[in-house]
Amino acid sequence: MKGFSGIYGVMGEFNSEGALREAARSAREHRYEQLDAFSPLPVEGLDEILGRTGSWAPAWVLTGGVIGGLTGYFLQFWGVGINYPFNVGGRPLDSWPLFIPITFELTILGGAVAAVLSLFVLNGLPQLHHPVFAVPGFERVTTDAFFLCILSTDPGFDPLLVRRFFMQETGAVAVTEMRR
């Protein structure tokens, strides 16, 4: 990392989601690849600019739902069909229509548990500390401030150049260098 390993990245602050979008676009035009943005609301079109779209959450939810559904069905079939065969009103032991409601509920439960887990795991939460929290004014990111960060892992990263980029090419109102 060209000797910048002590630095996490350089952060520029913006006043609006429009300014953030412009800055991100401009950073991409300057061939910066390792970008991260921070905002008080999901900014439309930002993911496309940052070049990272899609999420693994749907795959998690599908897996969770399938596991939940299979568990639900086999729990009932095995329980009252095999483990302790139980005759209710002369119905077959694998009376599948009567197993549908619980199978359905457990499918939903599995999917929902997976959705929450995916949110934790994919976002790396819970996390007690992160370098961005040391940026002055970062507490406003949950109110009305927007930030764009160029990470030191970027192949073209140079703190001076990045700082100059933020000051001259974007409408940043403040620029901060972050240590790890």
């Binding site: 008080p40 929450v116 040391a134 620029v175």
Partner: protein, 482 residues
């Protein structure tokens, strides 16, 4: 830690976001274009002003006197509930008015009523999200909280009704010394799964929605202890683009999962009745009819809570008359579905050709509980027709009473379904009246107390309006106007 901003040293104090602070001319120009729908956030609003307004309710120490009075009353009633439960545990379900044949009495009436109330929260937060109804954004948090508390109240009743509530875990499949399984082919066991899944998923959905907002509270809290608590709850949320991307995806999927879930829950509750052969219960229209009634009473409860709260906390700019109007319309529509259900209950009884089935309808209208039935039709079907008038829908006081009428009416409907069907079935020699005792009433009123106490605590300690979604709404409205 003592790092300074390396570059420009611009002031980053208070400032408006360009474009959101609308000039007077712009506002007037919008007002002149009469075809434009009224805005969902009224007045001059910026991200900052909205965030300050809503987080201020939680972070501000002073609370309106009405909060203290309301919470105090609800807390007293909750104590009454705990007293009634203690006596129930000590003595048994004999303290209630239940008997054979009316073994379900108030407990199941209250269960069905409460769980129905919960349904509006999920409808608002999940179904309206999928239908892209933006007006849900400022009421969904409160409605979801209401769902949780209503389901908590609901879940309590069947457990207390077990007779031996401490053995409640026998309802769940677990490896046990008796080597037995629950009766998976029974609607009552389906209910256990449906309600517990509903509660779990509702908690997940609610908490997921809360994370970005508690992060806001963490960042705005002045006091170290408050910051610590909200910091833990926010899990380290920093609003990064990656966070939002996964968040939006997972949240949408949870809404997609909650939508069939909410429809299934009251359907399964209705199976408790419909799969039985009791005259007046054994009917295929029950699932949709129960779901419509659930949404109906749920919206009524949302209105009953939100109308006083928006006044006490001056939230009229985010919970506008337009919101009330929309909610009233949903209530009117589901009320009509319910009325359709009433008509078809009568039709099915006649069409079945079964004399007991037909008698159950006659018994409702002319039997010993007839006054309740006619009163139910008045408050649940006739009075809510006033919602056809816009002047009622947009006048908070009138709407409050219309919603109250629906809530009372829905409780009576549950009572009529449970008690009036059970008290006279096939064998006239076993007919018996049900008379609630004081303990029945104390448990019902106490559950209302518990519900409202939880609602009051919620509005005190957590943001009752979803701040980031209102910010999103502002951004979208701005984008539309420019």
């Amino acid at each position: 830690m003592g790092r300074k901003p390396a570059g420009l040293a611009l002031s980053t104090g208070h400032r408006m976001i360009p474009g959101t602070a609308q000039s007077k001319e712009e506002t007037r120009a919008r007002a002149e274009r009469a075809e434009e729908p009224p805005r969902l956030v009224q007045g001059v609003a910026t991200f900052r002003s909205i965030t300050e307004q809503i987080s201020g309710i939680v972070l501000n120490r002073r609370h309106p006197r009405s909060w203290w009075i309301g919470f105090g009353l609800a807390f007293l009633l909750t104590m009454g509930l705990f007293y009634a439960i203690s006596v129930l545990l000590a003595v048994g379900v004999g303290i209630w008015g239940i008997n054979i044949p009316v073994a379900w009495g108030f407990a199941i009436t209250n269960f069905v009523w409460w769980i129905g109330i919960g349904h509006a929260g999920t409808l608002i937060s999940a179904i309206l999200l999928l239908l892209l109804q933006k007006w849900r954004n400022s009421i969904n948090r409160l409605a979801e909280a209401m769902t949780l508390f209503a389901v908590a109240c609901a879940g309590m009743f069947p457990l207390l009704h077990l007779g031996r509530p401490w053995a409640f875990f026998w309802l769940l499949p677990y490896p046990n010394g008796m080597e037995l399984w629950p009766q998976f082919r029974s609607a009552l066991v389906w209910d256990v799964f449906a309600v517990s899944t509903y509660l779990t998923v509702s908690i997940f959905f609610w908490y997921t929605g809360l994370v970005p907002d508690v992060a806001t509270l963490r960042d705005r809290a002045k006091n170290r202890f408050t910051r610590l608590i909200f910091g833990f709850m926010a899990l380290g949320w920093r609003g990064s683009a990656k966070h939002w991307r996964n968040y939006e995806s997972a949240y949408l999927l949870m809404a997609g999962l909650s939508t069939p879930l909410v429809l299934s829950v009251h359907s399964v509750v209705s199976f408790d009745f419909a799969t039985a052969i009791v005259p007046g219960w054994h009917s295929t229209i029950f699932p949709p009819y129960f779901v419509a009634g659930a949404v109906y009473s749920g919206f009524a409860m949302v209105l009953n809570i939100i109308i006083p709260l928006r006044k006490w906390y001056r939230l009229e700019n985010v919970v506008t008359e337009q919101h009330l109007d929309h909610m009233a319309k949903v209530m009117l529509a589901t009320g009509l579905l319910l009325a359709y259900g009433y008509i078809f209950e009568i039709f099915f009884a006649w069409y079945s050709g079964d004399p007991t089935e037909q008698y159950s309808v006659v018994n409702r209208a002319t039997g010993p509980y007839a006054p309740l039935f006619w009163l139910l039709l008045l408050v649940n079907v006739v009075l809510p027709q006033s919602l056809w008038w816009r002047s009622v829908r947009t006048r908070p006081v009138l709407l409050f009473f219309a919603a109250l009428s629906v809530n009372v009416g829905m409780w009576m409907e549950r009572f009529v379904i449970v008690v009036v069907s059970l008290n006279r079935d096939y064998l006239p020699s076993s007919w018996r009246m049900f008379t609630p005792t004081g303990w029945d009433w104390l448990t019902l009123v106490g559950s209302l107390g518990l519900f409202f106490a939880l609602v009051f605590l919620f509005v005190r300690f957590l943001p009752m309006v979803t701040m980031f979604e209102v910010r999103d709404l502002l951004a979208k409205e701005k984008g539309k106007s420019s």
